[in-house]
Symmetry: C3
């Protein structure tokens, strides 16, 4: 135990010892397009993906367009309040219906080309001159649907044909995080990062703090890198918590908290930050006074767009001259430090000289995550063969 | 019949009814590089391609360089007035001879590297120090030729080894359009568009006006979208005509015509616009007072450079302060509307959700064109196999 | 013999006559990625590559980073004065250690991610928390080495596992060029060119002056293109010399030489320029008063980065207000003329119309070089099959 730890009164829990010979993933997992495609198909193509917040489509007709696995998807709200998602593809000649990233439909969705028109539940309601064509029936040409669902304000899509329920994927997380009342929070800031690294590298970086003393001295000053505890890896998520150091109120530039804590949080949870990677694309970081959400949008084996959002209590965001630069600047700085080493790792792993390396006992979640990824590829490979 | 049509006195001719189950082309025809290559080889690599106008090389030595199927080709006029085309490749070390897009040769073509020199008919007339090499004979190293020919001022190239005559490809078109005296017209304006869509999509867009009321309200106000008549598809072209609405003199911003009509046009043809797609790359639009020519230059399955030219009577272009913004602006606006929906269709068709859709009876030429394209691929496929 | 030569008193030595039917290389050697890869593997991946000068790492801890065959390599000097080269890859998670192109290590090399630390001979000397992992031994994780060696101040790397000595590759060159005392010279100027041509084209361009009268009139005025003599091609280099015309002191804008000649040069060598291509990537041009070095860094079949350096006697470079624009401008102009025709040749050779052409007797080294390249591919092909 370091003297810094004894000074701070932090209790370090021992972690499982790595099996002899445990090694990080071979380079192909980070650079090979076939591996990337397999992960996109087996994870992003089958699991629920977090694509934003319901506050972005508050009323009927409001919409956002999201790019999921190269597919443009319209997410909108119908007059009965339901959330619907459709491929952005007209049934006549395939034309994209919607060219704006967000906006409001005037009660229906009209194709700019030949004016085929759909209602907000995707039914074809207008198709000029098609009535002259024998056997043509409007009901045969609804928009193609994408599955959509919501968890405490988080919007999820699933582009597979017949997915299990979102609740199945989330397992016990909704119960675990009820206390934070995430559905009440509102967006304060969004920063989009373009990271030249594999998506898994960002998840691995997120799930260990061994790198914190060296890379994030400011973070390590607020929350000791050996503090807290990890949960064992689950089928659809992994995570743990870290403790704030004595005298620190939240993760901000100076450790003070000018905002009220989230209502309903236990005293214990007011002293902790929870970090959960919800596979495949959501990183949920719950602080005493705000929620940080990263969503990952893999573009290539070596490139991931990372959308980072800070959410606060609505009365904070509504305040005239609202600013949360104390926590936005803190995490923006920390994010950039992380993306830089992820990019350096991506570059190095592409080298012919790279060989998998050993894990420390502090990289227990990564070891488990990597094994899960290896299993996934082996199963996908079997499927491809079998 | 719409009331707008009854108001305008337009006679709508019924068109052939689509066969049951007729569907637009599968996505591969627009996105698959193999399909693209097959079309380039079988159509662009074998047919005559329109590459400009003879007015660009009026005297001996004047030249233009064109890029055809990735090949740089020099087109120039020899002292006897003949039009010659050569690959832009020196016979010594392959060096490009010509780096300017147009200009004038000083009586011969000299390679910048080792000064090999060719006359304007492509014969090697100078090769420093090669006389020391036994068996070397200048007559063995003429420039490689590309076939060139002319129709009423339109310049055509054919890069296949032994093509049929240009007249064979043009069939009855020279007779059909004699009245417009195209050889007398002169370039007034050129605009080059870079369209992120497959070349066939631009041809399909050109050959139906079902999209006009929705996409081109200005055009539809001057020429009713249901007016006119199509010819049945021919082996090497397709087209038809549309009528100007009463009180409209030509397709211009306000429908008036500040220029004289082309001399020799019948009264009937002064009330019509002819739209002919001459395969594979020329769109010829004949108006009462001007000629509009689009040439298509496919770059990739999803990208086509489109060169649009407006040609007028020479005394118009020669007039001090000549401007034809009334028709240039009109078609530039209309072009941009078309390219945008072509790009939206290209984007949508790339989606996994795209499925071929039904044609309306107003898309009769497209149906025929698509069948021809399917046949072409089947034959090319057979050739590839057999 | 030309009258210009008779005027200048240049003696033209006859060169070997080309065998009947000798032809330049087919296009694949310049455009096919498989050919490129084979050359990279068999030449750049096995031979010693010139990567700079030892003056760039004068003291222990000073380093440069070079990109060799896509591999980032750290070259540094250890406390005992030795030159060491390492792959820029941490043994823990593969992270790039060094992000600056040059600089000074503070006695050791530390990874920015988890702080693994190496000494300047590549030994792992720090790895936080790894002592908790059973069986982990620091001595198992040194940095991966790249072979490094030095010739008269020129720094060479070899990325193959077990290369022959640098001296073997250099053969008799060290003896041949002792007189120039290259180890004493210092960098005066560096210009980096990005040439859109195959690396072999730059070597071929360098080794014939038949193109000089047409392309480099200024050079030809100082040194007649038919002067001098070539050595027969050797296994690892090829070259020859050219003579300065009477009254010309060096290759500079006006042929005068404001610097002292290199000490120790014979009278004969003060009237000559030596041009040696040392395979695979170094072009060494020795002038009476300066050394010009090009190093080639192939990026793709059709793209080569070319680093050009001018080196002078140290007292020249140290002089206040040192300028050598007379020779820098001269060669920069000449370089740009060369790269332009190389790019034109690359473009032309990519044409379907390109066919190999005949050599003149003045292209004797190119003929020999091309034969060596053909042999190399045939042997590599055999290896690939066998």
């Amino acid at each position: 135990m370091s003297s810094a730890m004894q000074d701070s009164g932090i209790v370090v829990k021992p972690r499982g010892v790595m099996p002899a010979g445990a090694r990080t993933l071979p380079a192909a997992y980070y650079v090979d397009p076939h591996y990337f495609k397999r992960e996109m198909d087996a994870l992003y193509g089958r699991m629920w993906i977090c694509v934003g917040r319901t506050e972005e489509i508050p009323e009927p007709g409001r919409f956002v367009v999201r790019e999921v696995l190269g597919e443009s998807v319209i997410v909108t709200r119908d007059p009965r309040g339901g959330v619907n998602a459709f491929y952005n593809v007209c049934r006549h000649r395939g034309t994209r219906l919607c060219t704006e990233p967000h906006g409001t439909f005037p009660g229906s969705i009209q194709c700019p080309y030949h004016a085929w028109t759909y209602d907000l539940e995707g039914r074809l309601i207008g198709a000029p001159h098609m009535e002259e064509v024998p056997h043509f029936r409007k009901q045969d040409y609804p928009l193609h649907r994408v599955h959509a669902d919501v968890w405490d304000g988080h919007l999820f899509l699933n582009i597979s044909a017949d997915p299990p329920a979102l609740r199945t994927q989330l397992a016990d997380l909704p119960d675990k995080f009820t206390e934070w009342r995430m559905q009440d929070l509102r967006l304060g800031q969004r920063i989009v990062y373009d990271v030249k690294a594999n998506w898994k590298m960002i998840i691995q970086n997120y799930n260990e703090c061994l790198h914190c003393p060296n890379l994030h001295p400011a973070l390590n000053k607020l929350s000791h890198y050996l503090s807290g505890e990890n949960e064992p890896l689950r089928a659809t998520y992994m995570g743990g918590r870290m403790d704030l150091r004595p005298g620190v109120d939240t993760l901000s530039m100076d450790g003070t908290c000018p905002r009220e804590f989230l209502p309903g949080l236990s005293d214990e949870n007011r002293r902790r930050v929870y970090y959960y990677a919800i596979f495949p694309n959501m990183l949920l970081s719950l602080h005493p006074d705000y929620m940080l959400v990263h969503t990952l949008w893999p573009q290539a084996p070596d490139r991931t767009v990372n959308v980072c959002e800070w959410h606060f209590q609505p009365q904070e965001v509504a305040r005239p001259g609202f600013s949360a630069s104390d926590v936005i600047d803190f995490w923006d700085m920390t994010n950039r430090q992380d993306w830089q080493v992820c990019e350096l790792s991506q570059a190095g792993i592409s080298s012919r000289a790279y060989t998998p390396g050993p894990y420390s006992n502090r990289e227990d979640l990564l070891y488990a995550f990597d094994r899960m990824i290896v299993d996934l590829h082996q199963k996908s490979g079997d499927r491809a063969i079998g």
